[in-house]
Subunit: 341 residues, 2 copies
DNA sequence: CTGTTAGCGCCTTCAG
DNA sequence: CTGAAGGCGCTAACAG
C-alpha cells in the first residue's frame, strides 16, 4: 500500500491540509513546515493520487488530440508542436488516432466527452461528417480544430491556406507555359482543405484568363497511404491520348507516387512531365529530382492550436481570430520545367 | 452541473448501486431495470465521471508510451500498432515523447509513477542511461520495453534483431565483392541497437574471414534528424584518399543523406558507391535508385509489446519470452552493385 | 436481483 | 500560517 497524504501529514506532524498546501501553494506555508513536509514525502516515497485530485478539482491536466493517423509527416509535426506546448503548460497528451474509422472516432468522442476524461480537445484535420464533430462541439469541453470548417460549427479552426498552396503551385506551372495541368486531389466530402485546393487550382487558371480541363481534375477518396488506388489514377492520367504535361499533387506522398509511375514508364521528370507536391516533407529534398512543393507551417499550427485551447480553458481571450489562415510558401526545386523542354 | 449517478438513480427509481451495475455488470441486473436505467441516462445525458471511478478502482485504463520522438517512421508504426492493440483492450494512450531531453524524460517518468496516472508503461527505444529507466523499473507499475537492454534491468524487452539486420546488409555487400565498407552508426552509449549493429557488421566480416577497417566505422551521437552532422560525416568519408566503395547506413534516413551528398558530388549510386539502409521506410521505394534496405517488423513489435503489457497488468503469463528478438529481412533493390562496376 | 453503507485520497472552505 | 471537517462521484461488500 503506497503512502497517502495522511501518512505524510502524520510523519511531518502536520495536517493533511498543510501537506496539500505545501505541494500546491507553497507560498502559504512557512519555510520550515514545508521542508519537514518535503522530507516526509521523500522518506515515505509519497506519490500524489491523481484520480483523487481530479475528482476534487474537476480537471485532469490532460488534453486529447484526435488525428486521422499518426503516420503522416504533417500530422507528426503538429502533434509534436502540440506536445511541446502542452508540456510547457503542464498538460499531458492523450492521442486518439481515428484511422479514418468512423466507429473508432465515435468511440473516442464518447470517451472524451465523459466527465473528467480530458480538459480540452484538439481535433486535427478530420475527414468526417459534421455530425460526429458536432457532438464534440456541443459538449461543454473546450475544442479547437485544425483544417476543418462546416456549416453550423462554431468551433475555432486554424487552417493552412490551401487555396494559396495549390494556387502557387499551379501558377508556377502556368508561368512555365503548361496548360494541360492535372490536379490530383482528395475527394473526402467533408475535408475542407480538399475544397480549398480545388479552389486554388481553379483560381490560378482564372487568374491567367484560362480554365482548367475538368477531366484533368481527379479526386479520390482514398487516403494517401492507399497507394494502389493512387497509382491506378496516375496511370490512367498518363494513358490518356492527350496526356497532361504537368501534375499538381495534393501532397508530397502522391507526388512521389507519380515519380514511381514515371520511373516505371521511363518518363523523365521534369523533361517529360512536371510535378509539384505539397507539404515539403523530408524526402522532397532527397528524391531525384528534388521536388518542387509547398511548405506549410505545421509546428506553427500545432503551437497556435494549443495556445488557443489553453486560452479557452482558462477563460482568457484567444490569441488569434477563431478562423485563422496560415501562410504557405512555394519551394521551387527541380521537378518542373517548360513543357516539351 | 452535469448529471451524476445519483440523479440517474432517482429518475429511474433505483439506487446508485444498481445504476453502477447496469453499466458495469449488466448481467447482474434485470432486463427491465436495466432499460429504465439506460433511459434515465439518455434523458439526463449522464456521463460517467472517470476520476471518481479511477479513485475507487485504482485503475485508469490508460497506458503511457514513452518514445524518443513521434517523427520517426519506425516509432510511428510501433505507436500505431500499440494504439490499435490498446483500443482492442479498451485502453487509451498517453504519449510521452522525450525528444532526447533528459529533463523531459525525467518529468514524464515522474508523472507516470504517480498513483493513478497510468496502469502500465511501454518504453520504446530509449537512448538514455539506465538510471532513468531504473527508476521506472523499480516502481510497481508494469513496464515493457522495446529495443533496450541494460545490466541490472529486469524489465522485459522486445528487440529488433539488429545484429542480423546489419549482418545481412554487410554480407550482401561483401558478396558483391566490396571490401572497403563503411558503417554509419549511432553512438548513443546506452542505445542497445547501436551495439547490436556494430556487432552485426563485425560478424559479417568475420564470417567472410575478413576484418573491417576500424577507421571506416563512424559513430555519431546525433539523432538522425540532425542532418548537418551526418552530412559532414559522410563528406569526410568520401573525402578520404582511399574512399569506401560501399556504405552501410544504420537507417534509411541516413542512407538518404548519403544520396544527397552523392548527388551534390556527381557520384552515381550504385556505380560509384553502393549504399544500404535500414527500416524500409516508405521513401526507400521512391528514391532513385530504390534503396536496398532491411525491413523490420515494427507493427509486430508494437502489438507484442502491448500484449505483453496486458498480460503483466492482468497477472497472466506473458505470451513471449521476456527477451524476444524479432526477425528482420533484407530487401534488395537497386542501390548496390559490384565495386568499380 | 436490489438497496445500504462505507470509503477511495485529495482539496478547500472556514475557523482559529 | 495551520487544523478540522466535509464532500467530489463512484464502486464493492454485505445484506436482504
Amino acid at each position: 500500500m503506497p503512502a497517502k497524504m495522511e501518512d505524510v501529514a502524520r510523519l511531518a506532524g502536520v495536517s493533511t491540509a498543510t501537506v496539500s498546501r505545501a505541494l500546491n501553494t507553497p507560498e502559504l506555508v512557512s519555510q520550515q513546515t514545508r521542508s519537514r513536509v518535503l522530507a516526509a514525502i521523500e522518506e515515505l516515497d509519497y506519490k500524489l493520487n491523481l484520480a483523487a485530485r481530479s475528482l476534487r478539482t474537476n480537471q485532469t491536466r490532460t488534453i486529447a488530440i484526435v488525428i486521422p493517423t499518426i503516420s503522416e509527416p504533417v500530422i507528426n509535426q503538429v502533434v509534436e508542436a502540440v506536445e511541446d506546448a502542452a508540456i510547457n503548460a503542464d498538460y499531458t497528451l492523450l492521442v486518439c488516432s481515428t484511422r479514418g474509422d468512423a466507429q473508432r472516432e465515435q468511440a473516442y468522442i464518447e470517451l472524451i466527452t465523459q466527465q473528467t476524461a480530458v480538459d480540452g480537445v484538439l481535433y486535427i484535420s478530420p475527414r468526417s461528417a459534421p455530425e460526429h464533430v458536432l457532438k464534440l462541439a456541443r459538449s461543454t469541453i473546450p475544442l479547437v480544430m485544425c483544417n476543418y470548417r462546416a456549416d453550423g460549427l462554431s468551433a475555432p479552426s486554424i487552417l493552412f491556406d490551401h487555396v494559396s498552396s495549390i494556387h502557387q503551385a499551379t501558377r508556377h506551372l502556368l508561368d512555365l507555359g503548361h496548360r494541360r495541368i492535372a490536379l490530383l486531389n482528395l475527394a473526402a466530402p467533408y475535408y475542407y482543405p480538399a475544397r480549398m485546393r480545388r479552389e486554388g487550382f481553379e483560381q490560378a487558371f482564372a487568374g491567367a484568363g484560362l480554365a482548367p480541363d475538368p477531366s484533368l481534375i481527379v479526386q479520390l477518396e482514398q487516403p494517401t497511404y492507399d497507394t494502389d488506388e493512387w497509382r491506378a489514377a496516375i496511370e490512367a492520367l498518363l494513358d490518356r491520348p492527350n496526356r497532361p504535361t504537368a501534375i499538381v499533387a495534393f501532397n508530397d506522398a502522391v507526388a512521389f507516387e507519380v515519380y514511381a509511375v514515371c520511373r516505371a514508364r521511363g518518363l523523365r521528370i521534369p523533361e517529360d512531365l512536371s510535378v509539384t507536391g505539397c507539404d515539403d516533407t523530408l524526402p522532397a529534398r532527397y528524391v531525384n529530382p528534388p521536388l518542387t512543393t509547398v511548405r506549410i507551417p505545421a509546428s506553427r499550427q500545432g503551437h497556435l492550436a494549443m495556445e488557443y485551447l489553453l486560452a479557452c480553458m482558462n477563460g482568457e481571450s484567444p490569441p488569434i481570430p477563431p478562423l485563422t489562415l496560415l501562410d504557405v510558401e512555394l519551394i521551387v526545386r527541380e521537378s518542373c520545367a517548360r513543357p516539351g523542354a
